[in-house]
Symmetry: C2
Subunit: 212 residues, 2 copies
């Protein structure tokens, strides 16, 4: 049975799930959610797909999961990959996935949306500046952590890496320039050198080019 992932290219949160599925080698296919046409906000989507009104949503037979971190957890259980070698690594991965949800991807996603996908006259400059300040603190923590290691946890790619990189390959600027953060830059190259890696706009349907 082919796993289905409800997603769209612009969502870094969906990318975290799509990348885990793709790199794991599991059989999966994307189902495009036309987010910018409001598809995730309809009563039907909330009732039938996800009451949180979000992507990604993964369907594997009778199992329906939401939240990228939960889908990653499921992919790890099913494939045996990216979940860490022992209880200590498993907790350390969860630590970084939670940190990413709390401090990095959550803020990056909102800030990119406000700067690029909201109409120009509605962009709240004070909010954007505030978020960029918080993002800078997050980049500092990640860049420092990667100073003396190749991967966030252990000695190979895990869900911690797949989570934290969620928004960092997008071309739309939101206050992140790889050149400013050399350890993050090298780590992003390491991830994109992983066999099977694809850019979010290639791995999932939908990109700003569709609306240009």
């Amino acid at each position: 049975m082919t796993i289905q992932l409800y997603c769209f290219g612009e969502s870094g949160n969906a990318y975290k799930a799509a990348l885990a599925l793709e790199l794991s080698g599991l059989d999966w296919e994307p189902v495009k959610v036309d987010f910018f046409a409001g598809a995730a906000r309809t009563p039907e989507y909330r009732t039938q797909v996800n009451k949180m009104g979000e992507v990604p949503v993964m369907v594997d037979g009778d199992i329906r999961l939401t939240q990228s971190g939960v889908i990653q957890d499921y992919v790890s259980e099913k494939s045996g990959k990216f979940g860490g070698k022992d209880a200590g690594e498993r907790r350390e991965i969860l630590r970084w996935v939670l940190w990413d949800n709390h401090k990095l991807s959550s803020t990056a996603g909102v800030t990119r949306f406000l700067m690029h996908f909201l109409s120009k006259d509605k962009r709240p400059q004070e909010v954007i500046a505030f978020n960029q300040g918080r993002l800078k603190a997050a980049y500092t923590i990640l860049n420092d952590h990667l100073a003396d290691r190749s991967w966030i946890v252990g000695d190979s790619i895990t869900n911690a890496d797949i989570s934290c990189c969620g928004y960092l390959y997008y071309p739309e600027s939101f206050g992140f320039d790889r050149a400013d953060w050399p350890n993050i830059d090298a780590w992003l190259t390491r991830i994109s050198d992983t066999p099977g890696w694809q850019h979010p706009y290639d791995l999932m349907p939908g990109s700003p080019a569709d609306r240009a």
Copy 2:
């Protein structure tokens, strides 16, 4: 061996860990971090306690954990409580813990900080208003979810409840009034009726009264 939790009363994220420890019946004690004097931002704290510069941090012998969701996971493993009955419940709990980190506690914590703990001349009104709009969307999701159930997952209190309530008992207003959200209100009463429950300012050292 008594588990130590680095925390302070004003932190709803620390409260999530402290409440899980207290309700589990494990032997623990708080270690006050004087956050408002900058204690969590010193190089010593970052080197010796938590490189993320955050609370809570839990120490149990040789095990040192950060991120409230990781500490909750550890408490569940050690006590057998709050972690769900099976794999399905476990994932559903993780889903809500991640949602809370992404959408609820993260924004509530920042907004309350900006409105009450930042000096009055520095409070960014546009950011506060923006965050309150996002919080309202989060309260709606939680209130709707609780319309026909007593607990967020399954039929008893779990880490999902202990996570999502993190900032909702504080007296300082940040755009949340229990009277506006009847299902959340009843659920908060259900949690606070749980034997052993304590308010964050009673369970952990430090409160705004100390600085009045």
